[in-house]
């Protein structure tokens, strides 16, 4: 990587050897900006680990499954919050993926242009609505609807399943699941739309030439080809759902306990932090909340990394024009 005189034709073609001094300065500046990203990620892990350290040392791995959360007694375990987070995120993921992939298929394979454009734009706008507005809507509109109408119907129809046998309130697990699934829908639609659009034409033409109907084409030629990319789309949505804070804080009911029915109030990791961090009762409480954040960070980091690799593989390294 020097400006030395090229020793051969092959070296002469390499980028580094064609750079002039001004180019080096420019590249170094841009490279420094790029390094900032690395610094932010390393800083995140370092800072959260450092501030969480007292709790990490005191509670050890039991922090993950212990379900006591008692600030005055300095007894902390994130079990209930981890369960709450995974339950809401997984339910949201399933709902959003089923609807989202169907929407993506519709947009790419079925809809005429004049329908596809406004529909995909409206779904994208859904992503532009701030989290806190979802929360306000979730409490005053959706929550009330669930308590007065949807909830009672579900209990009387499905109440024989213990999971649904609860008392629908304005806030609770179910409200959070619905709000989250709406919030991650744009991610799932946008990513799976791009992945489905990346399926080669020949793949479709081949099976159509064999006499397949459009749905048979989708089922036999498009979905199998795009499968891992669609999986990636779902996982990206999952990462969003896991980290979502304010909307969930407003609608989930905020109770540290493992929920028994889908109408029970619960807690997620992010909403616990949002609620308690400014009112910590002692240093161990703060460290414990920092450890919750560290667990959350680690989970979302892994989920995101996995999803990116999957999506990259399908679109063969090409970037997709969607920003999380």
């Amino acid at each position: 990587m020097t400006l030395a005189v090229p020793t051969g034709a092959r070296r002469a073609l390499r980028l580094e050897n064609r750079l002039r001094p001004g180019d080096w300065i420019f590249m170094t500046l841009a490279g420094t900006a790029a390094l900032t990203v690395l610094a932010v990620i390393l800083g995140l892990f370092y800072e959260l680990t450092r501030t969480a350290w007292p709790a990490v040392r005191k509670f050890g791995p039991a922090f993950i499954w212990e379900t006591t959360w008692d600030p005055p007694k300095e007894a902390f375990g994130a079990g209930a919050m981890i369960v709450g987070t995974l339950l809401t995120a997984t339910a949201a993921l399933i709902m959003a993926t089923v609807v989202g992939v169907l929407v993506a298929l519709y947009l790419v394979e079925v809809a005429p242009r004049w329908v596809a454009r406004p529909v995909s734009y409206m779904v994208e706008l859904l992503a532009a609505i701030p989290s806190v507005v979802y929360g306000v809507w979730g409490v005053f509109v959706l929550g009330v609807f669930i308590r007065d109408h949807l909830g009672p119907v579900m209990v009387s129809a499905l109440g024989w399943i213990p999971l649904f046998d609860g008392t629908p309130l304005i806030t609770g697990l179910f409200s959070a699941m619905i709000v989250l699934s709406i919030m991650i829908l744009p991610t799932v639609v946008a990513v799976s739309r791009d992945v489905i659009a990346a399926v080669p034409r020949s793949q479709r033409e081949g099976i159509l030439a064999l006499g397949a109907t459009r749905w048979e084409m989708i089922r036999l030629a498009v979905i199998p080809y795009a499968r891992s990319g669609i999986l990636g789309a779902g996982i990206l949505g999952l990462a969003r759902a896991v980290g979502e804070t304010l909307a969930v804080t407003l609608v989930i009911g905020n109770r540290v306990a493992i929920p028994h029915t889908i109408f029970d109030p619960a807690y997620t990791m992010a909403s616990l932090i949002a609620n308690q961090f400014t009112e910590v009762e002692n240093d161990m409480h703060r460290a414990a909340l920092m450890e919750v954040a560290l667990v959350l960070l680690a989970i979302t980091f892994l989920i995101n990394a996995a999803a990116r690799l999957l999506v990259w593989r399908v679109t063969s390294g090409g970037r997709i024009a969607v920003i999380e």
Partner: protein, 289 residues
């Protein structure tokens, strides 16, 4: 040997029926996906329109429990913090995008590209806690500056990525033409590539801006929020999404009204930015909250 006509017939009819049903299911899903947006916008407009008034944007909040007053402090606070975040974020993000597009065809570039994507997916509340540990804890003071830094960190990966994509869309022939005229690479980038990609980059910046304007999670532990009007960068500062959160969870009816009205202002600003950007540049760039 062929199937008997009647069997082949019924098989064909079943396939056509499945085709029709699944097309219907896909359409239904599309309708279902659009309904929430319509509902949310409808309720925010219906509940928020009544609360809109000149007082709301020119007055500061009253003491809790006394109806009236406005949210000027939150509007000004949001403006200041988003502005500073922009001033910090734009150069770094665009620089990062330039590196990835122009010099990033190596292993370091791949790693950074991957980290940009991952950073974009990290929960904003953990970013808030990071900045809390970095800036608030050592100074023992919640500051607007810390809030801006947290917002800038959320802004960074979004704009870095859009910049890279927009630069890569610039035709190779333009770069080659500049280089063939003897321009060094940095001049090629600054004078030819960047201006060509400018509309796209601005689009990305605007969309990222509208996203951080709606973020409350990273501000909860950095700028904290403030009852009073403040422009002091080294003290706590209010922001629109923070105040919506506080009012929506608060006990007073007029707080709820004002929370709806603020939501309307926020959504209105964001939709206007999004629609304008789309109308002006028409590029297919989207930002997910």
């Amino acid at each position: 040997m062929s199937l008997q006509p009647s069997v082949a017939d019924s098989l064909y009819r079943r396939r056509v029926a499945t085709e029709r049903i699944m097309t219907g299911v896909m359409m239904l899903a599309a309708v279902l996906a659009v309904i929430p947006l319509i509902l949310i916008v409808f309720y925010v407009v219906r509940e928020g329109a009544g609360g809109l008034s000149l007082d709301l944007i020119t007055q500061d909040p009253n003491r809790a429990g006394r109806p009236g007053g406005g949210v000027r402090s939150a509007l000004v606070g949001s403006g200041i913090m988003v502005g500073i975040a922009l001033a910090m974020g734009v150069p770094i993000a665009v620089g990062c995008g330039i590196y990835l597009a122009e010099f990033g065809q190596n292993r370091f570039g791949t790693v950074i590209r991957f980290l940009v994507d991952v950073l974009a997916g990290i929960p904003s509340i953990t970013v808030g806690l990071f900045v809390y540990g970095l800036m608030v804890l050592p100074q023992r003071q919640f500051t607007a500056l810390a809030g801006s830094v947290a917002l800038a960190m959320i802004f960074l990966p979004i704009v870095a990525r859009i910049t890279e994509e927009m630069l890569l869309l610039v035709p190779r022939s333009l770069r080659e033409a500049a280089l063939a005229l003897g321009a060094p690479r940095w001049r090629t980038v600054v004078k030819v590539v960047l201006p060509t990609a400018f509309p796209g980059i601005i689009t990305g910046i605007m969309l990222a801006l509208s996203r951080i304007a709606g973020e409350a999670a990273p501000l909860l532990f950095t700028s904290l929020g403030n009852q009073f009007y403040s422009t002091d960068l080294l003290g706590p500062m209010d922001a629109l999404p923070l105040r919506i959160f506080n009012y929506a969870t608060g006990p007073y009816e007029y707080w709820h009204e004002q929370a709806w009205a603020m939501s309307l202002i926020l959504i209105g600003l964001i939709l206007i930015v999004s629609l304008t950007v789309r109308a002006l540049f028409g590029t297919r760039v989207t930002v997910k909250q």
